[in-house]
């Protein structure tokens, strides 16, 4: 099956958007795809958001920079305002409903996947893993890369001195995946 998928992942600096972008791209590589990951420069860096773009494809990738993405992971409100309008019709937008009112999601045009990433991560014992929860939800919503492929990629993107946190990160990915799965079953 031909695959082409891209995602802009955006949030506050410190929310770990670069880390999950890296993780997703690495897992895409492990799954046998061509991938690109790029932290985006420029005025965006001054707009209160940190963001990166990931492209996954079974063909050679042209542009690593995407203006109208097929999907987004939105970790905070400024990112929703900035990137939601750019997502292509029918695109997937994972919204961190802990910080962004999911009612702001453009459900008429897009597939909005709310996930209370901060609360879920906090319940698992570490609110800093909200990024992993959100990525887990994105994996379920897009079905692009198997969850376990992403979990197995964790040691390759997490620094060695945080290695003890890998099981907890894998768990956070799974909780996000399950949350989106449950939401999609009821939808």
């Amino acid at each position: 099956m031909a695959l082409y998928l891209d995602a802009i992942i955006a949030g506050f600096g410190g929310q770990g958007v670069m880390l999950i972008g890296n993780l997703l791209a690495y897992a895409g590589m492990e799954a046998g795809y061509n991938v690109t990951y790029i932290p985006v420069y420029g005025p965006e860096m001054r707009g209160g958001t940190a963001n990166c773009t990931v492209v996954i494809s079974d063909e050679p990738i042209g542009s690593p920079i995407i203006k109208r993405p097929l999907s987004c992971i939105i970790m905070n409100l400024p990112s929703l305002h900035k990137f939601q309008p750019t997502v292509q019709d029918g695109g997937v937008v994972v919204v961190n409903s802990s910080l962004v009112d999911p009612a702001l999601g453009d459900a008429a045009r897009l597939k909005i996947v709310p996930v209370a990433a901060n609360e879920i991560a906090d319940a698992q014992g570490n609110v800093r893993m909200a990024n992993m929860v959100a990525l887990g939800a994105w994996l379920r919503a897009t079905n692009a890369i198997p969850l376990d492929t992403v979990q197995q990629a964790l040691p390759n993107v997490i620094a060695a001195h945080y290695a003890k946190l890998i099981p907890a990160n894998a768990n956070a990915l799974a909780r996000g995946w399950e949350t989106a799965d449950a939401a999609m079953a009821t939808a």
């Binding site: 890296n22 690495y26 991938v35 990951y37 042209g62 542009s63 690593p64 920079i65 995407i66």
Partner: protein
């Protein structure tokens, strides 16, 4: 030759490619967006028993490169546009002294301090000499992290085979993006340079590496030799093409702009527009014959660059009036993306009718 697949930034790919090519000296100075190179080199070079020096300036770094190259030891320096301007003196001397220095420019916006985003504003500087005097560098323009790795290996091979400085011209996008890279280790010809490199004149006459030629006719002869060498290098030129066979319009673009243009062309193909992309992989020597071969009657060309119009002059010279060559300049300071190129491409197509 051993191979494995890694997930690397373009800047990191430059480092690992250089090390695989047997580079054992690196000289650098901090400047965004290439700082990953000196930072990674400061630890990786030590692991292979090589030398890392954070120079006092890009002037210092480029001249350290000159010294190491004079010893026939594989060495390189890296910088970004303002720093590469400071290196032009040493590059001219290396060209004049026939020294195989390798220089990486992860270009940023200009003129002056510009910005830290991507730019192709250094094309003229890269391919027309850059410093004083009549000389050329062999110039490679990687578009992918894999090419960033592979081009470093090629850079050293060409530098030593032809005794010319080699410039690898990337940009902020290439330096910062990550892609899978299949790493591999070439066989390095340890004998390259053994008949001219400096090592102390033990058991042989002394050797002299210089660019000063004051004797009657000496400089003219030296220049003639260099120009012949540059002409002889022409067969090394390469052009990558995608979808050009039936194309009504061929986009000519290099480096990361080449791959972004490919995405735009791909979108337009899906809408039925016959658009192809030709990407010069070597900027000097320029793929003149390959471009000429594409200039069939009725076909138009559009050069897209992230500058105000530089390579387009070489495209027009190459096509020598055989085809119309339009230009779209994406201004440095604005991040390029495929959507920005759609309308200029449609305009170029429409101009044909």
């Amino acid at each position: 030759m051993t191979a494995s697949r890694k997930f690397l930034k373009g800047n990191e790919a430059v480092v690992y490619g250089a090390l695989a090519a047997g580079c054992r000296c690196y000289f650098g100075y901090p400047i965004t967006p290439q700082n990953d190179i000196p930072e990674l080199m400061s630890s990786e070079m030590v692991k292979v028993g090589g030398q890392f020096v954070q120079a006092e300036s890009e002037v210092g770094a480029a001249n350290m490169l000159l010294g190491a190259a004079a010893c026939g030891v594989r060495a390189f320096t890296s910088s970004s546009s303002p720093g590469v301007s400071l290196m032009q003196e040493a590059i001219s001397y290396m060209a004049g002294s026939e020294l195989p220095g390798v220089i990486v420019n992860m270009a940023r916006g200009g003129p002056g301090l510009g910005d830290i985003g991507s730019s192709q504003g250094d094309y003229f500087q890269a391919v027309k000499g850059g410093g004083h005097g009549d000389y050329r560098c062999y110039v490679l323009a990687p578009a992918t992290c894999q090419e960033a790795y592979d081009h470093m290996i090629e850079a050293f091979d060409v530098a030593y085979a032809w005794r010319v400085p080699v410039l690898v011209l990337g940009d902020a996008i290439l330096g910062q993006m990550k892609e899978p890279v299949t790493t591999w280790t070439p066989d390095v010809n340890a004998d390259a340079g053994k008949d001219w490199r400096l090592e102390g004149a033990s058991g042989r006459p002394e050797r002299l590496l210089k660019s000063l030629f004051l004797e009657d006719g000496a400089l003219a002869g030296h220049n003639a030799k260099l120009q012949t060498r540059y002409r002889d290098m022409q067969p090394l030129s390469r052009l990558e093409t995608v979808g050009v066979d039936d194309a009504e319009l061929v986009i000519v673009a290099f480096g990361t702009i080449g791959r972004i243009a490919r995405s735009a062309a791909s979108q337009l193909r899906k809408q039925g527009h016959k658009v192809g992309v030709a990407r010069p992989v070597t900027l000097f020597p320029f793929p003149v014959a390959q471009l000429q071969a594409l200039a069939v009657p009725g076909r138009r060309f559009l050069t897209i660059e992230q500058n105000c119009g530089q390579m387009v002059e070489d495209v027009r010279l190459a096509l020598a009036g055989k085809a119309e060559v339009a230009f779209h300049g994406h201004l440095p300071g604005n991040l390029p993306n495929p959507d920005e190129f759609i309308q200029p491409i449609l305009d170029a197509l429409a101009a044909k009718a």
